[in-house]
């Protein structure tokens, strides 16, 4: 990261990338906004630790994926202690099923959102690899750097993700 590059410049260049990945990953507009904030606060706080070996874009992708995972873990933990959440708090009720992706045109809503729902049920690493490949159109090499895996491992993750997804869709069609 160039020391002259301000947080505003970094935000202008990468906010779309971060927000859209959060949106696809979390499938909730409010959560995506919250995690986007977390990502840029972290980028600002940790820019000293950034090593120029990887690109800034890859580094930001890595932070975004990790923040999304942390957010989902925290949400799961919160759900486990659901009895302490007041009954008037409807934030939890905005589940994946209620999510209307703002980037999908009305005529494609059903097919795209059904697919996103199925992707959401995949294990986290398969989901991450698939979203980065299919929506963000990253190369396997880039995905490998972001997920800190070998290219072979990413290839196998993608293959398993597609297989599992196909199974889920077939199951859904049977029911």
């Amino acid at each position: 990261m160039n020391s002259n590059q301000t947080i505003k410049e970094i935000y202008d260049e990468h906010s779309g990338l971060v927000y859209n990945l959060c949106l696809n990953y979390l499938q909730n507009t409010e959560d995506a906004e919250e995690v986007t904030q977390d990502v840029f606060v972290k980028v600002f706080n940790k820019h000293g630790n950034f090593n120029e070996q990887s690109s800034l874009r890859t580094w930001i992708y890595k932070i975004t994926v990790n923040q999304c995972l942390d957010f989902l873990k925290a949400k799961k933990r919160k759900k486990r202690f659901g009895f302490v959440i007041p009954i008037y708090d409807n934030s939890e009720s905005l589940s994946y099923s209620d999510f209307k992706h703002p980037g999908v045109l009305l005529e494609h809503h059903e097919a795209t959102e059904n697919l996103l729902k199925q992707i959401n049920e995949l294990p986290h690493n398969q989901k991450t690899a698939l979203l980065l490949k299919a929506i963000d159109e990253l190369s396997q090499k880039e995905i490998a750097v972001i997920m800190e895996l070998s290219e072979k491992a990413v290839e196998s993750l993608l293959s398993r993700a597609k297989y599992n997804l196909k199974e889920k869709i077939n199951e859904g069609n049977k029911n």
Binding site: I7, S15, Y19, V41, F44, N45, G103, V104, H108, K166
Partner: protein, 95 residues
Amino acid sequence: MSSKSMETKNKMLEPLKHIQKVAPASDLFSKIENRINEEQLNKMSLGKLMAACAVIIILIASNSFIINKELKTNKSSSDLTETFGINTSNQLYHE
């Protein structure tokens, strides 16, 4: 993996191509700036809190050191009075 199966799997992901990029809310950057400023303020007050704690610990330590030293000198003076039979009661005449 057969090419037909690959094709089916890729076709299955086609709906994802309809997802368009969405711009984040226009006030998102100001929210981020506010959070960064808040965190810096918190960090500063944390620094002040730690400095205050350090001062308190130093004060307590120096006080306990002085009190301990004082007690030791008191003890040694009482030992002296016992050894030499010095009357410390100010009562010179016994009944």
